[in-house]
Subunit: 457 residues, 2 copies
């Protein structure tokens, strides 16, 4: 089992470090896969991580940089930030341009400019600078500009020869075919190439109905295309349909994982780059604004309670049960919201079927409201021995859970119409709404039926 | 842009259906990719979806079934459930065994047994039955048992010939090499095969240090391996290291998407298969248990408020501000919980670095508590013109947000140690805890400092 094996390696690394057995340590590190090294690095304390990386980079800079790249650009940039721009340029040459660009983007401002300046002077370094000119989270930013492309008038045999000579192209899945002005005109799979006679022209065996993306397409959209068409790679073209790069499925997997994390995070009010080991001060700075917005809305809900201060003064039991109504509305709303937000993200929910979704969620909301309301009413009645209190609790809960379901459906859809990420802002609106409606319906009904309720004192 | 194009097709499909132009309709459907057809099907009303599928299945059953397979096993099974077992067997023959198995598993009990019985009698049908013998969500269940493997003693040239003759194998990325007893001994990439002389023995060019998974490995673990080693496919072996199948990267993408949805869903108390268009009755049945658990814990929190009934009776303003303390604790806890649960899912959080994570989250919790507490105190003081009320609010908020951060870190970790999915149960524990602690700290402090507070009446 890989996890167990890694623990053994981790223990050895720590032991060899304590012993100062540098040569043995480097030998051990050299035998690991980049992904395993990344995991090792992430589990080592800061100082040991720096030492291990430095030692490995001296001996095998390619492997060290591949491991760094697997570690994610933020952590990778942190490990490089004490080096000079020259050293960083030399090290990033070991990486594909897209990975190098992501990493350089996370370096401190000054250092990253220095690195980019140096890169522009190098023959192949211009790629990285070009990638960084595309907007963040677009196809252009994650593509590899070194794409293997063939002219449309050569034969299958010539294509195989060309392929054999192409040493610096990462991995080849599909062979893209271009015309004389580099327009993308077709695609041939490696396997297809093996199945035809060597003198067959590419033109005759290529598929012309191919799926490509524009360099400015959102990376999430790219990931959706690659996933739904089961592609291994997707060619990237510019506005004139000229081939400028390729995005491979392993980059797409990273996008899918990041976007999934982002959705979970946004629903909870956490920034996408706030991870387990982000420094405390940074996490604080990222999470506090969200909490302050929630604090403001909490006071808004509190002011609703304030309106009914005199009613509570007469029936203190209301203070005991009012959080139940608000809280249950919040729980039901979170369920609806999650299903809707994820439905939007997965492309299941479109404009055409919104009404159907709304009707369904409203039905579920009323159903849940009746079930929870009746049970809640009985419990409240037993505890307070006041049947009217129970009845009011039930009514308020049904109203609030209906509101929760409707708002949980409509708010993310409205935000999407306003081009705001539904995952980002929905939950704060929803919580406010279910708190305000919960308190208002429960305390309002209590005020209306005040004379039937057992009054305190 | 693909979305726009699809809308045009959707409109045409609806129009042709209304006109009864069956031949044109089938022609139009035939021109679509399976993934686009799946999207079309999902956007058509039930009756039209059934009609479109039936028409397409008559003309091009392979395409119809591929579209069905992209639609997801649940919706696909729903479209087939009115057919006879014989018809279903015939249609599922168009799919790779793993997709067929997933679909059959979702058919109504009786129908799926009938289908499986018929399948056992067919030469190639046994595969599906065998896949269904593996536990759900394991490698065995999602693998394709038709794996292309070569004997270790053949040459590169012979391998290419064998490859050219293999028509029924889906897609080949890597060539797995086996010994005489079918033990997996190595792997050769298609590209490598092209780069060597035809008489080179496979034994000399194969990589023996290859990553494989056992058929009983959890699919999430498989996905993590494929993603972190950037693989296109991973071989599946039995307990004796004999090659039994292969899992390709497109299946892994589906797993990653499903598991991400599952994590989001579980944090919100929604079942994994509860989607936007799951029938209302089914969604209700799935969500109600979670709400009832929350109802029980809400009453637990309410009973804490009940303890301080007399204090609230004396200072009604406490009822106004107590939900603020509980709610802010809940928000802070959700942030911590999300970061920790996602950190566990992504493999960033291990036993070794737990203490570091706990210390960090506790620091963030206290920091957020002080910031929110001080602001909250000022606001409460201004509204109630009672400085002591403000002070108590601040203290209670700091305590509760510290508890929220610590519990938000420890509860998911403890659940993982108990082999319970941390995403599943954490949020209900956390909400209960922050409610109970929020009410207890705020009302408890108020009781202690009662004589300093402005009393009502």
């Amino acid at each position: 089992m890989p996890q167990r094996k890694l623990d053994v390696v981790l223990d050895s690394v720590k032991r060899l470090m304590r012993m100062g057995a540098t040569a043995n340590l480097v030998n051990l590190l050299q035998k690991q896969y980049p992904a395993d090294l990344a995991q090792l690095f992430s589990e080592l304390p800061d100082k040991e991580r720096q030492t291990a990386f430095t030692l490995l980079a001296e001996r095998n800079s390619k492997l060290a940089m591949e491991a760094l790249s697997e570690l994610g650009p933020e952590a990778a940039a942190a490990l490089l930030r004490d080096r000079t721009a020259e050293e960083i340029v030399k090290l990033t040459q070991e990486l594909p341009s897209d990975d190098a660009a992501a990493l350089i983007d996370y370096l401190p401002e000054e250092l990253s400019s220095a690195v980019l300046e140096l890169l522009q002077k190098r023959p192949a370094g211009g790629d990285v600078g070009e990638l960084l000119e595309y907007a963040e989270k677009t196809a252009g930013r994650i593509m590899n500009p070194k794409v293997f492309a063939l002219a449309e008038d050569i034969t299958a045999g010539e294509a195989i020869t060309a392929l054999q000579g192409s040493r610096d192209v990462e991995v080849v899945f599909y062979l893209y075919v271009i015309d004389v002005r580099r327009h993308l005109v077709g695609v041939v799979s490696l396997r297809r190439l093996l199945l035809v006679a060597p003198d067959t022209p590419l033109k005759r065996i290529m598929t012309t109905d191919l799926i490509s993306v524009r360099a400015d397409m959102d990376q999430e959209e790219v990931a959706r295309l690659v996933a739904s068409y089961n592609l291994l790679a997707i060619p990237v073209v510019d506005e004139e349909n000229k081939l400028v790069g390729v995005i491979t499925v392993d980059d797409v997997i990273d996008v899918i994982k990041d976007e999934a994390t982002e959705d979970v995070y946004r629903l909870a009010g956490v920034a996408g780059d706030d991870r387990v080991f982000t420094p405390a001060a940074e996490s604080l700075r990222k999470r506090l604004p969200w909490l302050l917005i929630n604090l403001a809305t909490a006071f808004l809900a509190a002011s609703v309670v304030g309106i009914f201060k005199n009613t509570i003064d007469k029936v203190v039991a209301l203070a005991i049960y009012m959080p139940v109504v608000a809280g249950m509305g919040g729980n039901a709303a979170t369920q609806t919201l999650t299903v809707i937000v994820r439905g939007i993200a997965l492309g299941e929910l479109t404009w055409g079927n919104t009404r159907k979704a709304l009707f369904k969620e409203a039905t579920v909301g009323i159903g849940n409201g009746i079930a929870c309301g009746v049970i809640g009413a009985v419990v409240a009645w037993l505890f307070s021995s006041d049947p009217w209190l129970g009845g009011i609790l039930a009514m308020a809960m049904i109203i609030n859970m209906f509101v929760a379901a409707t708002a949980g459906t409509l708010i993310p859809l409205m935000l999407r119409a306003l081009k705001v990420d539904p995952a980002l802002a929905s939950s704060v609106f929803i919580t406010t709404l279910t708190d305000v409606f919960g308190f208002f319906s429960f305390l309002g009904l209590a005020q209306v039926f005040l004379k039937y309720l057992h009054q305190s004192g």
